[in-house]
Symmetry: C3
Subunit: 395 residues, 3 copies
């Protein structure tokens, strides 16, 4: 009955997640984030105790992936399945951004018996999150006009701004690693750019990490070579978050400096914000020649920073030479997946299982987001499920 006790503690929080989409962590209050994290943990424990969290007898969980995905695709499928929904993928088979009219219509057409819509749209700066809000607005219209029997929740499975299912899974990993959410206070986390021989990696992971971790009193260091900026507004937001939560926020153009005394390191490649802006314009103009030249120029620029590799030398600068290494995977591993990557092979290997643990929280985070946005009283439903104690698997 320890789970029931944990649920009752949550009931005291001030939470309004119901019928609101989960698009950006910074639109959610501290209590709301805590609720999503704790419900995820409870769902994970229920599964370990073979208690079924099945809420739905039928219902669709729609996925729209406008970019490739394995990890998030399987996490979303697992989450929908865990709650009792069947996944139905909406395959657009076309990469251009559909105009407003069609988004509006399509959103209805796929939602008549749908409980959730998970969307990945991270290719175009200024577009992905906007698209999710267009879908959401259409669902509102459909629900308010009696076209949809219920309002499916939209969950951001990665956009141009944030990757909340990733950052929340990362956070849950940290909470369990360090023992509690309170113990994260004063921990130093370094979100560092790292070299990769590829180009155009989204900004959503580093942005999501700094914007979320800064809510919990951590000392954030953001490191990247000159010019590899993130979206300025999100950096500003993170600074503000850090100040408010009793943490700190610092930036540097030196990877070494950023690593000193770090408790946690997150070395990961991304494309500079200004390049992503140029790229979006070129894509919108279908300027193929321009895109080829931009890619070429970027790879040359990247290659000036092959020393931004996380390796033993870097690790030795961290707290006790043993900062927790994090990555959203797959990592570009030097001499394994490429010549000069984000991380040295032996360093990655040391923390490889940690990164698998980190990834393993995502299905439960998504399931929690689905539950808490879809139901008015998700904690009551959880309690009922635990008291019923139906087996997930017959034994």
């Amino acid at each position: 009955m320890e789970l029931i006790k944990r649920i009752s503690l949550l009931q005291e929080l001030n939470v309004k997640l119901h019928r609101k989409d989960f698009l950006l962590t910074w639109e959610k209050s501290y209590d709301e984030l805590v609720t999503v994290l704790e419900v995820a943990e409870i769902l994970r424990e229920m599964r370990e105790q073979n208690i079924s969290p099945r809420i739905f007898d039928s219902g669709l969980g729609v996925s729209i992936f406008r970019d490739n995905s394995t990890r998030t695709r399987f996490s979303y499928a697992s989450a929908c399945n865990l709650l009792g929904c069947a996944v139905q993928d909406m395959d657009e088979q076309k990469s251009q951004i559909a105009h407003g009219e069609t988004v509006r219509e399509t959103a209805q057409m796929i939602s008549f018996l749908t409980e959730f819509i998970g969307i990945r749209d991270d290719m175009y700066l200024g577009e992905g999150n906007k698209y999710m809000r267009q879908v959401a607005a259409s669902l509102d219209e459909g629900y308010e006009n009696g076209i949809l029997p219920n309002r499916p929740a939209v969950v951001n499975l990665q956009c141009d701004l944030d990757h909340p299912t990733q950052s929340m899974a990362d956070l849950l990993h940290l909470i369990n690693h360090f023992g509690s959410i309170e113990k994260l206070k004063g921990k130093k986390i370094t979100m560092s750019w790292a070299h990769s021989p590829s180009y155009g990696k989204p900004l959503s992971v580093p942005q999501g990490v700094i914007a979320l971790m800064s809510r919990f009193g951590m000392d954030i260091t953001l490191a990247h070579p000159e010019g590899y900026d993130l979206i300025p507004e999100i950096v500003e937001l993170s600074k503000k978050n850090a100040a408010e939560s009793g943490g700190s926020f610092k930036m540097t153009n030196s990877m070494e400096e950023s690593m000193v005394d770090a408790d946690i390191v997150y070395p990961k490649s991304w494309a500079p914000y200004t390049i992503m802006q140029q790229r979006t314009t070129l894509l919108q103009n279908a300027d193929k020649q321009g895109l080829v030249e931009l890619e070429k120029q970027c790879l040359i620029e990247n290659s000036k920073h092959i020393d931004w590799e996380y390796n033993e030398k870097m690790a030795n600068l961290t707290k006790n030479q043993n900062a927790l290494y994090m990555h959203c995977l797959p990592a570009d591993i030097s001499d394994v997946s490429c010549k000069n990557g984000e991380v040295a092979a032996d360093t990655f290997e040391k923390y490889r299982l940690d990164t698998y643990h980190q990834a393993g929280y995502k299905p439960y985070i998504i399931a929690s987001m689905l539950m808490t946005t879809r139901f008015e009283k998700p904690l009551q439903i959880l309690s009922d499920l635990i008291f019923s104690a139906n087996q997930r698997v017959k034994e």
Copy 2:
């Protein structure tokens, strides 16, 4: 218990839907159509009352889409899911019509634990419905020879002749809009060709609409430019239907004339029947040059009729300047999805939510077709489900 009363009324009808596929509405009796419509409505009400209509603990609902689909794909998936079946898509990855031998074999191979097979095959005149019957014949052989433990029902998700899940959903929309099936008597519905800058749109929607609506005492007007004929046999059938049901059937080559005093208008583009015949022959001969020329010629012909747009001027001719506008979606909207389309943007906007309501009936119509063809006593099962009153979603 109002639902139980409605079910008991249906039990007096003379219906033989069990173990018969749903391929063409004109193969079904009036009582059978009424049963499918009313079961769809009952399923919709059950969902609104959170009563689970889950009949299957396991079972596959196979889909074969030989042409693109979003709306019908999601409707079929929703219907299968609502009843408890998992959708398994049969992806042929080839567009040519498979020869008899392979159809026969494939039909068995995908059916060992299958409850339903939904098929869309609308590309080739003379082929789609024939293909469905080949599949059905093979299923008969498999069932009769003890290869298949039960006979999956085949449901036509659009063929060259009919689009019964669309026309039945359209009909249910009309019944609910006007209040009852009896109130459709004497209503004037105009099925009109409309201009589109695309070519080769199937005939199945207009054919399905005139052949079905003519069963219910409505006054049908079929309008199109000279040469844009539908399959003559289906037009003849519709005339006969209209005469028998106490309605009327009229044809005109003037869009304006067709709109006068209409209660309902359904302006939609299609390719002329004779063009579809030529196209089928060219496709069968793999005559690429011929196809290019045919398309060019058709678009030139189409462009002579850009005045066949449904707009305020047309709408003002209808009953009270306010005929119910219908479309199977997506509509070609002038200055939105194309320059000169089927409907003016402001006119479409006025009825946009109506078209969403119209589309929303399709999942329930399909679920009803699945139930009534699969079970000997679907009404008894429905009653049992309502008495059990298992929740679809835990609350």
Copy 3:
């Protein structure tokens, strides 16, 4: 309660299938094979009696198809669905063998809430089975390190060595056809090469058939033109099996000779082992020109053996001119699917329904493999399910 009696007989067998993958029939003991066969039959009977074998309330059955599949895809989907799991396909969208690192990682990423992983990887000699073992090793690591809450079972859906779901379904067909497993003793089965105008057909079916059937006291004849060898180690294994089980094993380069007095014939094309070796090397070197030449040369070689067709003349040589014809389907049928195929059209037609029956066992064989590898006490679970007698379909 006849099913309960059958289950209790199985409980006396010495079986260790739990937490072991099903990759090769020759890694399983006689008792283990008998258990899988009998559980498959019990599952089939349960379905016929409308008793639900649903064990899972939620859970994913992942499929990885590195080669096309219809039959096995639907069988796997049916099996997962029958037990209560949802199928989630892992679409690699690339044909090259991923290097060790990525396989290891991907295996974890798709398994957090996964119960089963079915894999088809039959394109490269020396690679398919190896890949499955890499996945399995990674799952072991994840389970042992607490990353995966349970260890998903890996089931071989066809590799370069064996096709156990096919050969076990074939065997179950034979058991039911001849009345019992004991009655297979002394039956003569001819696994014969047959002509096909295609190239590169896998060796796994003939290898799987001779390696499995030789366990049950049957007299095996393996026939093929000179040079069309199977993997030598598997032929040697089959000889040893035959000797140990009281059967016999014979090879010939004459199709006619192989057919004399056969009770069962399995005429099917395959590519010579040495060609498959060359092909693997060429593919690994991405030698397109070499591949084109190899294919050309092989088709010329094949065309020298168009007389290796199973037809009335061949059938007349068999026991009572009526040997049971088997094929994994689709067969290359002369004058139907090609000019000179594996089997004459009239001969195939005579046994066509038999081949459908044969194929129909595969979903139950797979479901049995899933159950017996996943659970410590699958027979106890089966008994419980039968006593509960929940309906699979409401009636």
